[in-house]
Symmetry: C2
Subunit: 239 residues, 2 copies
């Protein structure tokens, strides 16, 4: 092993070494208020004490970055098997006041209805914020949030990631509300429904909405099997 | 500064520290042979001595990861302002024989005609390979190559990155050849030309090809200004 270590030292000196963290932008969609929300925690690093920050942690020596992202999410939300996507690294030499720390940013998509915010269980205070009401954040987390929000907006048009933010059964109007909220734009109803239909990926159910004041609408689910088949054939999702 | 260091030690211990590298998959398109090529170098790490690997290096303490990727590319190819995109991190705990080394993968797109392979200038042997002829590579570089190739294939359909692989002036047939080569599929000529026309992003020049055996075809350039304008309006590139 000492030979290994000698070789390692030749290639990698102590000065080259850095700390690596993972930061997750956890998106949730609040259907009632038509708001895109993100889950933040109160920061504990002295320079940013009391400020809000993304869910993050140091990567452990025996895990992959993706393992670390899943671990952080499960620890903070209790949820497993959450939609998770690596976005990019943030590596400005002065981004962390405590030294050279590079972070890999992920975004996660959560069905808010699946998730009970259990504050007592956590060491740090956690809270959902409307994405538009966040002004200041610790570190470069505001920038990370903006980059991840932009990525989510792109993905929504190119991949069926939006369905990870909706309940399992949804109405066509619920999809349109979600798209309008995340993309921050109004969409033409007729045009949007035509596109939805052309996708051919929604399964119409023998069920309608309940507990609504207006005339109850038809419920649908997203056909993930058909989507996998479509992808395999090289056809693209576009909405 | 000692207070800073103390705080740093509280959050980041020496065991948490790792080495971070950047690896670049440099793609070039060989128009003559209709081949997608990648530029590789002979490896110098003892365990993989003599094997081919991606262009990579340790990130320096005072640069960003993107700076490092640009530095490596310029050092190895002499080229600046190359199209460069971060793809993802590779962080398996056992991926590097010399210790805990995480790498961030980028792909770069080069116009082969712009680039003279200057072997003498370099400390390591460098060579272009047809992407289909590469069987074994050092580290997990074969896997990184495959992930980056897949990303390029996706991007080609969603962004005008392909034009970074073509000469500044090109024929419609040259675009189709490039798409067929990278996507590894045949495309219907009429359908592809209709899509190209619908893009509205090609500028027809008052020039035709020279030095060809067949009837010379019209030359075009890609209109990046118009594309920027189109993106600003939220319209999407699709080919």
């Amino acid at each position: 092993m000492s030979l290994e270590t000698d070789k390692l030292k030749k290639f990698i000196t102590e000065q080259d070494k850095i700390a690596l963290t993972v930061d997750c932008v956890v998106f949730g969609y609040d259907e009632h208020d038509k708001e895109l929300k993100i889950l933040l925690i109160k920061n504990e690093v002295p320079q940013f004490l009391g400020m809000w920050s993304l869910l993050g942690d140091l990567m452990k020596i025996d895990e992959t970055i993706e393992d670390a992202a899943n671990r952080i999410l499960e620890y903070r939300t209790g949820l497993k098997d959450v939609y998770l996507e690596e976005v990019q690294s943030f590596s400005h030499p002065k981004r962390h006041p405590l030294g050279r720390v590079i972070t890999i940013a992920y975004y996660a998509l959560i069905k808010i209805s699946d998730y009970e915010l259990n504050v007592e269980k956590l060491d740090l205070e956690a809270k959902w914020f409307n994405i538009n009401e966040i002004e200041e954040m610790a570190f470069d987390h505001k920038n990370i949030l903006e980059v991840c929000h932009k990525r989510l907006q792109e993905r929504l048009k190119e991949r069926p990631v939006g369905f990870s933010l909706l309940p399992k059964k949804f109405t066509l109007q619920q999809i349109q509300n979600l798209y309008e909220t995340v993309l921050q734009t109004e969409l033409d109803k007729r045009n949007f429904r035509r596109k939805l239909k052309n996708l051919g990926l929604l399964k119409e159910l023998e069920e309608i909405e309940t507990e609504v004041a207006h005339r109850p609408a038809r419920l649908y689910t997203f056909d993930y099997d058909k989507y996998t088949e479509m992808e395999r054939k090289g056809r693209r999702f576009s909405l």
